[in-house]
Amino acid sequence: MDAPIIEAEGLTKRFTSRKATVEAVTDLTFSVAQGELVAFLGPNGAGKSTTLRMLTTLIAPTSGRASVVGRDIAREAAAVRARIGYVGQLTSGSFAQRVRDELISQGAFYGMAKAAAAARADALVESLGLSGFATRTVQQLSGGQKRRLDIALGLMHAPPLLFLDEPSTGLDPQSRANLWEHILDLRREHGTTVFLTTHYLEEADRYAERVMVMDQGRVIADDTAAHLKEHLAGDAVTLGLDSPGSADRASSLVAEVTGREVRRVDATTVAVHVADGATLLPTLLRRLDAAGVAVVSATGVPPTLDDVFLALTGRTLREANLSTADAQPDTDPVAASATAEGGDR
């Protein structure tokens, strides 16, 4: 097997702003294999962007080390930069520049010859649905078009590894689906490794093969979405009974059949989380029927990553996003500018 394309060891970032010290990322150790599509999932301020900014050499880690495409992020920052593509949270294109000009400049930045850069720019304009906008300025593009240009800029030099920071935030559902089509095409055609952050559950769930859940600076789970859901959350099976008495009897019977803890949702409703709700439900209903317990309703709902997050942290992702929205170290300008010291390369 090839060497991992990303290897992080004890990666830690502390920001000091005024007198407070915030540890944005704590002791992060992980690796990503070539060709993987990894989603970094977590609420605002979880440390996702800070991690990405360390891996892309924008900020130096406080401690720990990482190699990206075989190069050390601290000692060989220039070599890392030459080998990765990065699409930040904001707009990559300068508002005053024309779309095609900006792509060609980007090619030059990565050492591409003029003709090759022009050909590549035209191909990307075409494949990302920007034909007809090549001579527009970035300012004139719609949100979805700007985002597609960001992706095109990140792909100009055909990097083996592409970092995407919240690629679909702020896009309407159709633009988001369209964007994902392009990302998936890219992987199919070029085997590009994609490492992205998102706080959209559906997105991580639907597209990523591997989900790393991050909360308060730490990775608290790392697996496929299917495994995470199966192991950490399970299907939610909910039964409605005709009386509190039936609910009592149902409770003990369901506990006996599943071996799981049964929750009493209200007087006549019981719920249980199980690995395979779809096949368990008929069995449960037959057993309850045989025992003379009258079931009036039954549902089996597959888990979401939000259930996973809830199981891991005790709060939902939405709650976590709300509670941390005010204290987000990633975008704190004072914190971000006060600490970074970079070299020339």
Binding site: A78, T91, G93, Q97, R98, D101, A336
Partner: protein, 249 residues
């Protein structure tokens, strides 16, 4: 720093200018207003001829172009920091030094174009410039502009996400520098403390050098002081600018 990186950064900066050359002319509005509305007042005040007044005033207007145009150029970078494209260039394999120097060198193009346009406009009104002096004068302005532009970029980098602070600092520096340069009105009748401050104002020396150069007095001591001042601004500006860019994230 590599020459290729610097070249690539500079040509990128020049692309919007090449696409829309009128933008360079349009930003001449302010110096033209001074030329059209202030010069006649000077004529009335001093009693000198229009040609003599222009010979004194036009070199100052050229320095004014640099002061206002280049002094504000950091706001472009600040906008790109806000919208995100600066971050993209930081992740590209470009040296930090080139990112700053390429941007600063780009300033030479509008300075030269705008200066020549102002000279051409003043010409029919009796303004005359020594051609070798004009050429040398443009070199001095370019060096001064590269330094001032770098300082403007440094200010933008230091005032990240605080646009108001960029303008507050920029405006509170530019106007004293302007008035204490003798660009608009002679400082002959200034109180002693003002003369003292003006004598260490590099802009003052650049203005005096431009007057001597465009007037054909190439051997004047003011030329030496102007060249020295412009070189000092250039060196200090680049040093400060490069340091700020290296700390940029």
């Amino acid at each position: 720093m590599t020459a290729t990186d610097t070249w690539n950064v500079m040509t990128r900066e020049l692309r919007p200018v090449a696409r829309d050359p009128f933008s360079v002319i349009f930003s001449l509005l302010q110096p033209l207003v001074f030329l059209g509305l202030f010069a006649p007042l000077l004529v009335g005040e001093s009693g000198a001829s229009l040609a003599d007044t222009l010979a004194w005033f036009v070199p100052g207007v050229l320095v004014m172009i640099v002061l206002f145009g280049t002094g504000a150029t950091g706001s472009n970078l600040q906008y790109e920091m806000m919208t995100g494209s600066h971050e993209r260039t930081l992740v590209a394999p470009l040296s930090r030094t080139s990112l700053l120097v390429g941007r600063a060198l780009k300033e030479i193009v509008p300075i030269v174009v705008q200066s020549l346009v102002i000279v051409a406009i003043a010409w029919p009104f009796g303004f005359r410039a020594n051609l070798l002096g004009l050429l040398l004068g443009l070199v001095v302005l370019a060096a001064f502009g590269v330094g001032l532009g770098s300082l403007s970029y440094a200010l933008a980098l230091k005032t990240k996400n605080r646009e108001w602070m960029f303008w507050a600092v920029q405006q509170s520096l530019i106007f004293p520098l302007l008035i204490l340069s003798g660009m608009l009105l002679p400082l002959d009748s200034a109180p002693r403390w003002m003369s003292a401050v003006a004598s260490v104002n590099p802009v003052n020396w650049v203005v005096q050098a431009e007057r001597a150069l465009l007037g054909g007095d190439l051997a004047a001591s003011a030329v030496g002081w102007g060249v020295l001042s412009a070189s000092a601004v250039c060196a200090v500006g680049l040093t400060v600018g490069i340091r700020a860019m290296r700390a940029s994230d």
